[in-house]
């Protein structure tokens, strides 16, 4: 499935409106914000239709999935938006992760657990809040908000140390740039090891650079770490390949058009998370050119002054060097 879908769920007292645009969306947050009510309303509407008194408006069918028979039901569902509540233990299993990977449905999962098996985006972790009453009626209007909304830095970030999530081309690039400016730079060796890398870091202002497209499972703990260590910041673009594509190094309007609404180009069945799509896109667009890109080892062309400047320019408010 690809595309962005607007969902409206309402009864006489409460109304929810939100957009779903990736294969995995997570809802969490404080107690008593209406998460379970939303789930129950969708479950009732899917089961009883109009008889439920609940209206669900969406271009795609919305339904829930239960512990009892999910393995039988899920393979038979196509082009649905499937809602799952936190009481479903199976959402933590590798089997569920595999079925999500192969599925052409979108999943909205209500949980506070990290779900390390699922690569979800920091951008698709939401809380629910009441935005007021709807057009002066007694109906309360609820909407989603980003739980981790710190992608835009209010001030310039000038790190003393950089921790890069991966150990491939992205790390090669940042290591080279940091080396020039005598900034310490190390690879965490994977998203689940970023916290370990932070705990042995004592370098003042620390900048973590990680793939926002799949960092979701680490965000609760990273967020709390940053609250205690305000000198630590996270820069979470979709991926390193996304930065290169965004930089304009690759000619043509087509790439920028894709980046402006990637959900319309990324089929969830082909790409478990968006960073894989951006890697494929970059490889495809640079094939047989001097910018030939490999995920595993950085083409040195990307370290030439012009390329480097264009890539770094994408990272607004981050200064690596003087």
């Amino acid at each position: 499935m690809k595309g962005k879908y607007h969902v409206m769920v309402q009864n006489n007292r409460i109304r929810y409106e939100f957009d779903i645009k990736r294969n995995i969306t997570i809802i969490r947050g404080d107690s008593a914000t209406g998460k379970t009510t939303l789930y129950s309303m969708i479950a009732l509407a899917a089961r009883l239709g109009d008889s439920s008194g609940i209206e669900v408006r969406c271009e795609k069918k919305c339904r829930t999935l239960d512990d009892l028979d999910w393995k039988l039901i899920l393979p038979a569902l196509h082009d649905h938006i499937i809602f799952l509540d936190e009481d479903n233990l199976f959402i933590k299993t590798t089997e569920f992760s595999r079925m999500v990977r192969e599925s052409d449905n979108y999943f909205v999962i209500i949980t506070r657990e990290d779900l390390a098996n699922l690569p979800y985006s920091v951008e698709e972790i939401y809380g629910i809040h009441a935005a007021g009453k709807y057009h002066g009626t007694k109906r309360i209007y609820n909407e989603f908000y980003h739980i981790y909304s710190f992608m835009d830095f209010p001030e310039t970030v000038k790190p003393d140390e950089v921790i890069v999530e991966d150990s491939n081309s992205g790390y090669d690039f940042f290591h080279s740039v940091c080396d020039e400016h005598h900034i310490a730079c190390k690879s965490a060796g994977g998203k689940s090891k970023i916290k370990d890398a932070l705990q042995i870091s004592n370098q003042g202002n620390v900048l973590v650079i990680a793939d926002g497209a799949s960092i979701g499972s680490e965000m609760n703990e990273l967020f709390q770490y940053m609250k205690l260590h305000p000198d630590t910041k996270c820069y979470l673009p979709e991926s390193f390949e996304w930065i290169i594509l965004k930089s304009g190094l690759i000619d043509g309007n087509e790439v920028q058009e894709i980046l402006s609404h990637p959900q319309d180009f990324i089929d969830s069945q082909d790409y478990f998370s968006w960073e894989r799509f951006f890697t494929t896109l970059l490889i495809q667009y640079t094939q047989d050119t001097y910018l030939h890109y490999s995920k595993h080892r950085l083409n040195e062309v990307y370290l030439h002054d012009r390329s480097k400047m264009m890539i770094l320019k994408v990272m607004e408010k981050i200064v690596l060097g003087d």
């Binding site: 007292r13 008593a32 379970t36 506070r112 390390a116 309360i140």
Partner: protein
């Protein structure tokens, strides 16, 4: 004393709200502690053991209060010896977990790192490592070292 254990354990109730719906006692609802917790978290008023006034849902039964408050009430009043999964609680429940831990010996199970930063001063025994922690900073440092979720 509050005791915290991360990961899968025996004798734990994974989804306390369902357990609450089938096990709660009427007198739990009208206990002053419950009245305060329902007021603080659900912004609702207890009218009687069978009726709660919610500003959003209107008059509701105890089965319709939030999963977080149901879990807190189990922690406070259940005497079965079960350990309840506090990952059913939002961060706005943290101060109440600390409060219940001051009143009784309370062991909670976590499958994520609950944010206790708004819970004020507290001590807890981290059962995975056997370490006693004092306050949120020590809790978080210890929780991040523990691999079980």
């Amino acid at each position: 004393m509050l005791k915290i254990i991360f990961g899968d354990i025996d004798n734990s109730i994974y989804h306390p709200p369902t357990y609450f719906d089938n096990q709660y006692e009427d007198e739990w609802i009208t206990d002053p502690l419950s009245i305060e917790m329902i007021r603080d978290i659900d912004k609702s008023e207890v009218i009687s053991a069978h009726l709660i006034d919610s500003p959003i849902l209107g008059p509701i039964s105890p089965k319709e209060i939030s999963g977080g408050v149901k879990t807190l009430m189990l922690m406070a009043f259940d005497e079965s010896g079960k350990i309840f999964n506090a990952s059913s609680c939002g961060d706005n429940c943290a101060k109440w977990i600390v409060e219940i831990g001051r009143r009784k010996d309370l062991t909670i199970n976590l499958h994520h790192v609950l944010d206790f930063s708004s819970a004020g001063e507290f001590d807890a025994w981290m059962l995975n490592t056997g370490k006693m922690i004092h306050g949120y900073r020590e809790y978080l440092e210890e929780a991040l070292r523990i691999k079980e979720r």
